[in-house]
């Protein structure tokens, strides 16, 4: 039915500076995925890079999705939005500010707060991986 095994999806620049805190799981995942993906080198010095990835915004919020009749939280929704852009050496935008939003939801129970926090942490990791994948696809679509 026309499907073919995906080929390499190189990013249209040889080296990239990743403007995210690499000591955070998100920054580390971003760097790792870019470095693992193709021929693009991730460089530590912004001045050496052909292009710079800038994270303009990275917000995560937790909202009440539903309440029990007793007014306790029954479900939470996690929403994370990352707004980013890619600029070249001259500061020209290769990719204008673009946003990726992902959501996850989970059941909550105040009596199991520690367990639910661990679940939340797992979901956050899952969301961030999802965001990184979507960011990579956006960057791969840049026409050089």
């Amino acid at each position: 039915c026309g499907f073919q095994l995906r080929g390499a999806q190189p990013l249209p620049f040889d080296s990239l500076y990743v403007g995210a805190d690499l000591t955070t799981p998100f920054g580390a995942a971003l760097r790792q995925q870019i470095a693992a993906g193709a021929d693009t080198r991730v460089v530590a010095d912004a001045g050496e890079a052909d292009a710079r990835l800038e994270i303009l915004r990275n917000n995560r919020s937790r909202d009440i999705l539903s309440l029990t009749g007793a007014g306790r939280v029954r479900e939470y929704q996690l929403t994370q939005t990352v707004v980013f852009r890619v600029i070249d050496r001259g500061g020209n935008e290769l990719l204008p500010p673009s946003s990726v939003t992902v959501r996850r939801e989970y059941n909550f129970d105040d009596d199991q707060i520690i367990a639910r926090e661990q679940e939340e942490a797992l979901l956050i990791r899952d969301m961030e991986e999802d965001i990184v994948q979507q960011m990579l696809r956006r960057m791969a679509a840049i026409r050089s």
Binding site: F3, R57, G69, G71, D109
Partner: protein
């Protein structure tokens, strides 16, 4: 005296011919240029010389003067061709664009100019004085070269870049921008500071006064003045002040004896009020928030914002609650390179309902000691269990049950990290969670071992405490080394992984009939694999890359008896996609579920060719069990909370989410039990959002049963924001629990955006359950005056949360700036 007169009219050269002169000591010429047809009759005098180009006459005086930018007068009179001008007169009044004057050069033009060299120029009839971006026009302008002082009479208009003032009479030292203007009307424009993610806006302040004093380039002081961001003619609201100071260096307005007039009605009075001129942070009283709720009665809060320094601020909020009395709240925030935090407090000396003093305290602090070493503190406290329910009208707060008290320190190495935690809670309802005093964590990951191997380790030591003696207490040590061999290409991935879970419990207070010291060792093997296929496809006229991603995930965990282990921090993972691909069906390590199971899933995505943006994603998954379940969350000596699964195959899980068209998005999840032919869970959300201010959401949530046997749910919700016409918008949400036959939450409100866009009115009523038979009803009002800055806990927060896709009607650009998702 030396008189300078304009010569016979000639054509005005586009580039003013200002001839350099040896006599000029300061390179700031004044050029005089009559702009119209009247022939000057007096003969030219003084040191004027005729320009060969356009007949411009330049007169030099030996300039002098302290201020280098302003003095030294050269007067040149240039007339226009009478024929040309008689047809096109009057000449355009803004020569700034047309004549690129030298920086600092002054040009005076008028129908007739009479001057006393180096002393005074009198320009009459459509007189105009231009220097850099400053332009003064009037019926008559007298300009003194020595003092750089201009006096203007009749139809005075003064402008500087985008700012301008008009009035009857003015006296102004042009360079210093010091002087006064009688009976001014003014328009000052400034851009709000660009913040990441927010488009800068132009804030236009306008008004009038008896007199305005110019106090330097960006400062004005006015007597009996008004200020508004509305249209200058007949503004809907304005601030009227006996004394008004506008300081565009600090971007602050200060009004003394100020009245806020809305629709010709004075609504508020302040002895001294300061307000932001360009929407930036500013000390002063914020606009009060007004509400009514059944818990507090009439509720008025008047926050005072104190902008102490760029990196710290405070808000002090006296709050009057009709039923309960006067509360004082305070919040202090600070931010530095390496740390940030917030301290909050609330104090109600005597609650008129309970007769007691009630209070709240909270501290949050994050500290980056080095780049790798961080510490944080989060401590929350309230005086009594009903505090939030009684005193807060906000659902996110009213529903709080466990208040965190936590100190944390972590160190991040290159491939390893450690963390220490002390954590407890103040519990307002229920038996409360365990305290972790302390928890120590060590984790490590190395992906660069020989043969492509990756090594991971996590270790945890926790001392669990519980205030209720019915709960077991004790120390738990958990060590988990793991080894994996990830193979990844663009087309497929394969990750086999082995790990060992070794856990030791030393119980101080054990389960009934249980032992005090227990060890458990469980090996885990898993293999995760997937492939990525792609093809080009078209859908609704757009070209997409469609992916097909099959994934297989196998887990093998041998059975170990775990019934005698207490449940400290574990629970069942909510059944969803994340759970399908996790090695343990429980969160927390008190139970490692036995498994011999395979998850089969396939995902397809539609990715926009041009941008790489994911538009739609659909997934179908199912899990096959090859053995029966033996490990459960049940504890020795306690009632069972989980029934072991008997079936070999789980439910089918299907999900579709994405933005189907520009306006329509869906998010749905369906969990179906093919064995019994039952739907276990079904969530469906549909959003129609054609533009900002128009959104419709329909949602349905069904769960047969929730975690750990808790009762299921069946909720419908509907929410919308929609124009009602005539600049009115309706907003609302209703969530109904069909199972409990009860509305758990309802919001209804209206918004009005004024024609001029300079104010917005919002009101919203909010009703939510706080208890099986109690509700909180609250009513909020907000009048947002554009440009007066961000205003307190308004209904906007409530509406943003309850109506997904809600757009602030007075900020139509806010969502579009980054609107490419």
């Amino acid at each position: 005296p030396d008189l300078i007169r304009s010569p016979a009219p000639r054509l005005v050269p586009q580039t003013p011919a200002v001839e350099p002169s040896v006599e000029r000591v300061v390179d700031v010429p004044v050029e005089v240029r009559p702009s119209s047809v009247l022939p000057a009759v007096e003969p030219r005098q003084g040191a004027a010389t005729a320009s060969p180009v356009g007949g411009a006459t330049v007169t030099d005086t030996a300039g002098q003067v302290a201020a280098p930018r302003s003095q030294s007068a050269e007067a040149a009179g240039v007339g226009d061709d009478p024929v040309t001008m008689s047809e096109t007169a009057p000449a355009p009044r803004s020569p700034v664009a047309a004549s690129p004057l030298e920086r600092g050069a002054t040009q005076v033009s008028a129908l007739r100019i009479v001057g006393v060299r180096a002393v005074e120029l009198v320009a009459e009839g459509e007189a105009e004085l231009v220097r850099d971006s400053r332009v003064l026009t009037a019926d008559r302008v007298i300009y003194n070269e020595l003092t750089d002082e201009a006096t203007a009479d009749g139809n005075v208009r003064l402008s500087q870049e985008d700012d301008w003032l008009i009035g009857d009479w003015a006296r102004l030292i042009v360079h210093e921008w010091v002087g006064e203007l009688d009976r001014p009307r003014y328009v000052f424009s400034r851009q709000s500071q660009a913040r990441p993610g927010v488009a800068p806006r132009t804030i236009v302040g306008t008004g009038g006064a008896d007199v305005v004093y110019f106090e330097g380039e960006n400062r004005y002081r006015m007597v009996n003045a008004t200020w508004t961001t509305c249209e200058p003619e007949d503004p809907d609201w304005f601030i009227r002040a006996a004394d008004l100071e506008l300081d565009y260096d600090r971007e602050v307005g200060v009004a003394r004896g100020a009245t806020l007039v809305f629709k010709d009605t004075p609504i508020l009075w302040w002895p001294r009020m300061s307000f932001p001129l360009a929407e930036q942070r500013q000390s002063g009283f914020l606009v009060p928030t007004i509400g009514v709720s059944n818990k507090t009665g009439f509720d008025l809060a008047v926050p005072y914002y104190w902008n102490i320094a760029p990196n710290y601020d405070a808000t002090i909020t006296p709050r009057l609650m009709g039923r309960r009395g006067l509360q004082l709240g305070g919040e202090y925030r600070y931010l530095s390179q390496n740390y940030s935090g917030e301290i909050r407090g609330e104090w109600l000396p005597k609650d008129r309902v309970t007769g007691e003093s009630r209070s709240l305290g909270a501290i949050q602090h994050d500290h980056r000691i080095t780049r790798r070493l961080r510490a944080s503190l989060d401590y929350n406290w309230v005086s009594d269990d009903d505090y939030f329910e009684d005193l807060s009208s906000r659902i996110a707060v009213a529903s709080r049950v466990n208040l965190l008290r936590q100190g944390r320190m972590s160190y991040q190495g290159d491939w390893w990290s450690v963390q220490g935690l002390l954590e407890g809670y103040q519990t307002l309802d229920g038996f409360g969670p365990y305290r972790r005093l302390p928890q120590l964590l060590l984790s490590a990951y190395r992906a660069d071992l020989p043969a492509g191997l990756a090594f991971g380790f996590s270790g945890e030591y926790v001392d669990f405490k519980h205030k209720d003696s019915a709960f077991a207490e004790g120390r738990r040590t958990h060590l988990r080394p793991q080894l994996s061999l990830p193979i990844r290409t663009a087309g497929y991935f394969l990750t086999p992984r082995v790990s060992l879970n070794h856990t030791r419990y030393d119980l101080g207070r054990s389960l009934v009939g249980g032992r005090d010291s227990i060890t458990r060792t469980v090996p885990v093997f898993s293999i995760d694999s997937g492939m990525f296929f792609e093809r080009d496809s078209a859908f609704l006229g757009q070209s997409y890359r469609q992916t097909l991603e099959p994934r297989l995930f196998y887990v093998r965990v041998p059975y170990r008896e775990q019934r005698d282990l207490p449940i400290f921090d574990s629970g069942r993972f909510d059944f969803g996609f994340a759970q399908l691909f996790s090695e343990n069906r429980y969160v927390g390590v008190d139970r490692i579920g036995d498994a011999n199971e395979l998850t089969v899933a396939v995902t397809t995505r539609f990715i926009e060719q041009s941008s790489g943006a994911e538009r739609l994603r659909a997934t179908l998954a199912q899990k096959y069990y090859f053995d029966e379940q033996r490990v459960t969350l049940n504890e020795l000596g306690k009632p069972a909370v989980e029934d072991a699964r008997v079936r070999r195959r789980t439910d089918v899980l299907a999900a579709v989410s994405g933005r189907v068209t520009q306006a329509v998005s869906v998010d749905s999840l369906w969990r179906y039990d093919p064995f019994d032919g039952e739907t276990q869970r079904f969530n469906f959300a549909l959003r129609y959002n054609p533009e900002v201010g128009r959104v419709l959401n329909v949602g349905y949530r069904y769960a047969r049963e929730l975690l750990d046997g808790r009762e299921g749910l069946k909720d419908v919700d509907f929410s919308a924001q929609w124009p009602l016409g005539n600049r009115w918008y309706g907003v609302g949400r209703i969530t109904r629990s069909i199972k409990e036959n009860r509305v758990t939450e309802a919001v209804a409100g209206v918004e009005y955006l004024s024609t001029c866009g300079c104010w917005t009115f919002r009101t919203a009523a909010h009703r939510f359950a706080t208890n099986p038979d109690r509700v909180t009803n609250a009513l909020f009002f907000q009048l947002e005056l554009t440009g007066l800055g961000g205003i307190g806990p308004s209904p906007v927060n409530l509406l943003t949360r309850s109506v997904p896709g809600y757009g602030k009607i007075n900020e139509p650009m806010s969502d579009r700036y980054f609107g490419t998702d």
